[in-house]
Subunit: 227 residues, 2 copies
């Protein structure tokens, strides 16, 4: 399938690399193509510079946000949460219209120092903001509650005995995303939280997730729901 | 031990009942003693009227918030989160001073309809508000992430293989509360999230907890951390 991934950070690279490995035609989108190519210093979390990474992943195309949205039969938003609405505006409503948009971003605002706050929460969420700004897009929020390497390889932890969530207004789109989570990444436990307003829950989970990261000393953890 | 519990709702009754059963000298505090005694209609969640409940729990004393804070060597805040600061003001700083205050409340605001919002979140929390308003009190936030019956009986679910959190600035007070969680209620997995600012994480977990309740069709669930 042709898949467009918005964002060349650690989440974008991880998702893109896995989908390319699975044989999909992937394009990854960036704000400024020439700047992304020119970058030579490694990124955070030991991430290689994009050009180095692309040599290791030769099947991956790089494009603008608009190129990438046009390329994808579906689009995955892995851009920085506080810049997401701007990135999607650059991607273009007409290039996104009618498509499933898998939103895996978090509206984390580091501008006030640590710990980060959420730039939107409580009576709204980034998932809802995207859905309101792009009503013709089928927004499904998912994967934002785990670190990048777990998103694409949940079985590395406890044989996959932990949970991921989906939120969205369009039931068939949500069912399709659940089936992709299973077939692409081997997620075994997916809980449907409800319509896109339930993205508030998934995003407001981030503060405890960040504290758990500190308490546990690793980002490679997740939760299982026990009942 | 002499324990004061603020709040006669389902959480207050459940905690009080369990601590009385364990042989502690408990007093439960209410805003208006005569009103609480006069109430004859059952509460929500199938809760008996307080007077009926007290007949079944004859060891439990009822008092004002101030009586209760004075009575307790330690105090447990099980009052309605949006009324907590007012309840603690009535309890009186001098009656609370130097004591451990276990805060198990959530600042859920139902006034705007469902789902409730949080009356404080993101760059602050109820736990922090309490600690700022009563600097001489050792506030430990815990138990707010599970339904009342699980608070006092975690073993009813998966043999207790799920987790509870603590947040607070005073390390010895926090260690003491962890030991009570184990000895009173048999909690097996307690994670220290950090200082009282980490109460943001525990309180902002509520929106996903409420969605999970809807999705799962029961409040008798919890999470286990998998790593």
């Amino acid at each position: 399938m042709k898949i467009g991934i918005l964002g060349t950070g650690v989440v974008g690279q991880t998702i893109t690399g896995k989908l390319a490995e699975l044989g999909h035609e992937v394009m990854v989108g960036t704000r400024d193509v020439s700047k992304t190519i020119a970058r030579t210093e490694p990124g955070p979390y030991g991430l290689p510079a994009f050009s180095v990474w692309q040599e290791q992943n030769p099947g991956v195309k790089l494009g603008s946000f608009a190129d990438t949205a046009r390329h994808g039969e579906i689009v995955i938003n892995a851009s920085n949460g506080v810049g997401t609405l701007d990135a999607l505006t650059q991607a273009g409503a007409s290039n996104l219209s009618g498509k499933i948009l898998i939103d895996i971003s978090n509206p984390l605002d580091f501008s006030q120092g640590m710990p980060p706050t959420l730039s939107v929460c409580n009576n709204d969420s980034l998932g809802e903001q995207i859905q309101r700004a792009f009503p013709e897009v089928k927004v499904v929020k998912t994967l934002n509650t785990v670190t990048a390497s777990l998103m694409v390889n949940p079985r590395q932890l406890a044989g996959g005995e932990h949970v991921i969530f989906v939120s969205g207004n369009d039931a068939p789109a949500k069912a399709q995303v659940v089936s992709w989570l299973t077939s692409w990444f081997d997620w075994r436990h997916v809980i449907d939280l409800g319509d896109i307003t339930s993205a508030r829950g998934a995003e407001m989970y981030l503060p405890i997730w960040l504290r758990l990261w500190s308490a546990l000393g690793t980002g490679i953890f997740n939760i299982q729901v026990v009942m």
